[in-house]
Symmetry: C2
Subunit: 196 residues, 2 copies
DNA sequence: TGCGATGCCTAACGATCGTTAGGTAGGAGG
DNA sequence: CCTCCTACCTAACGATCGTTAGGCATCGCA
């Protein structure tokens, strides 16, 4: 029975911030408790283990990316691969900007999950990456993108996208919209046909 | 007096592997010692502290990137911005491929350095990123690249490049040369003028 | 008025952390 | 032969780790 109350959500948020700032392994349960002005042991009234905290953050973030990609693909209908890739990139940027801490924890800390959970996340990441890869493959097939290795191109674009989570701050110079516009442009052009 | 003997180099290498695989904070001194078949305390005959180990790895990796970029820029002479950016990207890929563990530790674990050292590395990273940024700015100025925000473009390209360190394995499907070729192509096209 | 949640407390557990102290075995060089 | 040096050992330090046990106050609701 997973707790989902208001207090639990506060705990998740604080944990996200600290895991983002210092990393999962370097953040102690007592660090999280101190940020909430309670004792370390008191956290265990809400959480079964430290790893469960990480799991809650990573699982929710993975779902956010998946749902955003679902929505993006649905909305573009059966448009061409170029538009679908643009929608995927835009959706990804929006998810990151909506919660950069959680997203960055998802991207960088999921390896600290143990065993089965790590495998589950690895699978979901692969599936998510496959959407980009296959959209690129489709675009190459119909001549919308230049002939290139879809796996390399997808990894290139996705690692660039994930990098946003590590540097984006809501109070920074760039609005999420501007970032999304630029990244869509950079990603699409990196696959564009003519050049020079 | 910094030790540079053969044994110390083995220790650095083992530490690189473990910091890459599990992260700095999640790797104990005794983990490193076990991989060397010695006792944890014995490491302190070679190293002053765990953080000094991280520092040695990060400092050497930073120098590798800096020297490679120096060489790349020297060799292209006063060629145009397009060629200089291509040389920078290629050099970066080569450094990563030459020692992926060390590079990935450099990219992901430098925040665990304390105080002054972290600031030093932050500065060197900024300076390195500035080379990309200014090359892009030059290219935009002379019309070799489309008009775009050089800071965003540089970050886009560099985070994609750094991502290589996390997934590249020497025994993988892709040779360093092929990766470099593809990444140069992707990076240059992302900045190219005409499109569609 | 009583009752069960809810939310936090103190105290403590065994394990593990980075690190220090002090000692020993073996090889190189005078 | 003696001495220094390198490389490692055992033992232990105080701190901190994740986690458990058991108790106490406050609240909504019957």
């Amino acid at each position: 029975m997973i707790e989902t109350g208001a207090r639990r959500r506060e705990i998740d948020e604080v944990a996200s911030e600290l895991f983002h700032a210092n990393g999962y392994a370097a953040t102690s349960v007592r660090d999280i408790a101190r940020a909430l002005d309670i004792q370390g042991a008191s956290l265990y009234a809400h959480v079964a283990s430290k790893e469960d905290l990480l799991w809650a953050i990573v699982d929710r973030s993975a779902s956010a990316f998946e749902h955003a990609a679902d929505r993006a693909v649905d909305e573009t209908g059966d448009a061409d691969a170029v538009e679908r890739l643009a929608a995927l990139v835009e959706a990804h940027v929006e998810v990151v900007a909506a919660d950069p801490e959680r997203s960055s924890v998802f991207v960088t800390e999921w390896r600290h999950l143990s065993g089965g959970r790590r495998a589950v996340i690895a699978g979901r990441r692969d599936a998510y990456e496959a959407r980009f890869r296959e959209t690129i493959r489709d675009g190459v097939a119909v001549g919308a993108f230049r002939p290139t290795d879809p796996a390399i191109a997808a990894t290139f674009i996705l690692t660039a996208l994930n990098g946003i989570a590590t540097w984006y701050r809501p109070d920074g110079r760039l609005s999420p919209d501007r970032i999304a516009d630029h990244y869509v442009e950079l990603a699409l052009r990196s696959l564009s046909e003519d050049h020079r």
